[in-house]
């Protein structure tokens, strides 16, 4: 590889993870010859940055492409286009062997703690697998590390030789978290890590994740459809609609000063435990449009309460509506042309 090509594949940036115009389309095949008749645009040109030790909360309705974005970033699904840089190094387009070295630095916590642990392996085998694959440490060091990790996630070390089916959902999720932590990653995608758990267990697992973030300095992409959960853990919140980001700002600004009509609608759906406060819930009409045939112009315009003529024709550009030092990105014609 020559120097020019090398420099093209790296980025100088202070962010740990940098996503540039990432796209993931799934071909829809039909007919006898299995020809591609259309594309499902699950992720449609997303750019995102995550600084070391920070958490970006990704929120959106079911089917808007949140999980696909997470998996495309981790190269579990090969992106259709766009680039992903991890610590300045491009990881898109790498071969399986090249990627292996970078796999240590990025891990995932899955939504379903019942599907994410192999039923035939013991807890110890599950947690030490990343160490085995990457040949980290001697066998006795690996054993010690597994016990350490169990302690970190709040499980007793006596359970080492037990099997996943002997645990509750919350405990299994802790085992999954311990496995993700084993290779000491810099970045973890948490793909709806609490939505399969009981509410009482949810807060325990969320607190655990918050602790990990604080103590270990791991950056998270925290995916959820629950704004309350996102608010609890995130530094920055990105709102996704139909494969695109519509708004991105600090957690505080998103909740206090939402700008995009979609974000406003989402926020109005959070129940407030105050009977005196009159709820002014914005009800969105219709369903999320099919990502196979996204609407022209702004993808949100058929459901938008503030839609204008231009919305159905021209896709809105991404503009910064925040103050100095507090970027607040919005993609909406309402804010187009207005300088903050």
């Amino acid at each position: 590889m020559n120097i020019a090509a090398e420099s093209k594949r790296t980025r100088d940036s202070n962010s740990l993870l940098q996503v540039e115009h990432l796209k993931k389309y799934f071909p829809v095949r039909a007919g006898l010859l299995r020809r591609v008749v259309s594309q499902v645009r699950a992720v449609d040109g997303i750019s995102l940055q995550i600084a070391a030790g920070k958490t970006v909360g990704l929120v959106g309705e079911s089917g808007c492409g949140k999980s696909t974005l997470g998996r495309a970033i981790l190269q579990l699904q090969k992106p259709t286009a766009g680039k992903v840089f991890l610590a300045g190094q491009e990881i898109t387009g790498m071969s399986h062997a090249e990627l292996k070295e970078y796999r240590r630095d990025m891990q995932i916590i899955f939504q379903d703690p019942y599907a994410s642990l192999s039923p035939r392996r013991t807890v110890a085998q599950i947690i030490r697998e990343p160490l085995d694959v990457h040949r980290i440490g001697s066998p006795s060091e690996r054993r010690r590390r597994v016990s350490e990790l169990l302690e970190v996630v709040g499980l007793r070390p006596q359970i080492l030789n037990r099997y996943p089916h002997e645990f509750s959902g919350g405990q299994r999720q802790r085992i999954g978290i311990a496995r993700a932590l084993a290779p000491q990653p810099k970045f973890i995608v948490a793909d709806e890590p609490v939505s399969a758990l009981d509410v009482s267990v949810q807060s325990q697992v969320l607190n655990l994740i918050a602790e990990l973030k604080r103590d270990l300095g791991i950056a998270f992409l925290f995916i959820s459809h629950d704004l309350a959960v996102i608010q609890h853990v995130s530094d920055t919140v990105a709102v996704m609609y139909l494969g695109r980001l519509v708004e991105e700002a600090s957690a505080e600004d998103i909740y206090r000063f939402p700008k995009h009509p979609y974000t406003e609608a989402l926020l109005s759906a959070i129940p407030v435990p105050d009977p005196k406060r009159k709820s002014s819930r914005i009800i969105l009409g219709g369903d999320v449009p099919s990502p196979t045939h996204p609407p022209s112009g702004c993808p949100f315009h058929p459901r938008c309460p503030a839609a204008m003529g231009i919305c159905s024709d021209v896709p809105p550009p991404r503009t910064d509506q925040g103050g100095p030092g507090r970027p607040h990105y919005v993609s909406c014609h309402l804010y187009n042309g207005i300088e903050s």
Partner: protein, 296 residues
């Protein structure tokens, strides 16, 4: 037959251990298991147990009825050979064919199916079309051709039956693998950077062993039947060596004059087949996680 059952750990109960416990509670399966073990011991220890060699002819004692006093407990055939010794010798060959051919089909089938299912796409299409191609080959024609070209040979029977049986195994394993492939624990292993073969060996195969074990216990009797059928047609083992199928064949010819020639080998064959089927059924129930709930 419950391969992998000795997954002993301190503290945890693996799925195999729970399944073993459920199997022990199934009386028919447990009884079958012990009976089968008895059969295997008898068959292996046959040459020392029987007072007569199975090849030894004694024309003066042709076709004697079973009697304890005469020393021929199961009687003798037309050439005066001891039916007990011959049943045990035949049983040994039948069980051996069943086990070896099943083992061959197990090794090839599991590997083939797991790789095809896991890799998917073009690899899968190519590997499975090859299986379809072999399926289309007429089995009997294939066996007869082998016998004509290479002569009658016990090894050829192993090879021929194994070569046809792995096709079913490959299809079953492939189907299971496809349903496993997108499970999240496989994704997690991919994300760790584990290679394809590691994932297949460590995550895919252990998780489909349950289905495979059940299928194996049902394949062994099937293979034994095929061998009996081949022997019945005269394509099986060569005299003086014998198999259960060959014995039943000869017994059927003299059914009216010397029924003991048919009864004993047939009982042995039917008994073994029953045992394997009961064990297979028991294993299927024991390994099915749903049977946990209905409180069996």
């Amino acid at each position: 037959m419950n391969g992998g059952g000795e997954n002993i750990t301190v503290g945890g109960r693996s799925l195999w251990q729970s399944a073993g416990e459920r199997l022990r509670r199934n009386k028919a399966a447990t009884f079958s298991l012990w009976l089968l073990i008895l059969f295997v011991v008898l068959v292996v220890a046959g040459p020392w147990l029987a007072q007569h060699d199975y090849t030894q002819t004694n024309l003066s004692l042709g076709s004697t009825a079973p009697s304890l006093a005469g020393g021929h407990w199961f009687g003798t055939d037309a050439l005066g050979r001891d039916v007990l010794a011959r049943t045990l010798a035949g049983g040994r060959i039948s069980l051996l064919v069943g086990l070896v051919a099943t083992l061959v089909s197990l090794l090839i089938g599991v590997f083939w199916g797991a790789v095809a299912g896991y890799c998917g796409g073009r690899v899968d299409a190519l590997m499975m079309r090859f299986v379809d191609l072999l399926y289309a080959m007429p089995f009997m024609f294939f066996v007869i051709l082998l016998m004509v070209v290479f002569g009658r040979n016990i090894l050829l029977i192993f090879a021929a039956i194994g070569a046809m049986n792995w096709l079913d195994m490959a299809r079953i394993v492939r189907g299971q693998t496809i349903s496993l492939r997108h499970r999240e624990f496989i994704l997690a292993a991919t994300l760790m950077g584990a290679g394809t073969l590691t994932i297949i060996a460590r995550h895919v195969i252990p998780n489909l062993l349950g289905v495979v074990v059940v299928y194996v216990t049902l394949t062994i009797p099937q293979v034994m039947l095929v061998e009996s059928f081949l022997s019945y047609l005269g394509l099986g083992v060569q005299e003086p060596l014998t198999s259960t199928g060959a014995l039943v064949n000869q017994g059927a010819l003299e059914m009216e004059t010397a029924p003991w020639l048919l009864v004993f080998p047939a009982l042995f064959l039917a008994g073994t087949l029953f045992c394997f089927n009961f064990i297979g059924d028991g294993l299927r129930d024991a390994l099915d996680p749903k049977s946990d709930e209905d409180g069996r």
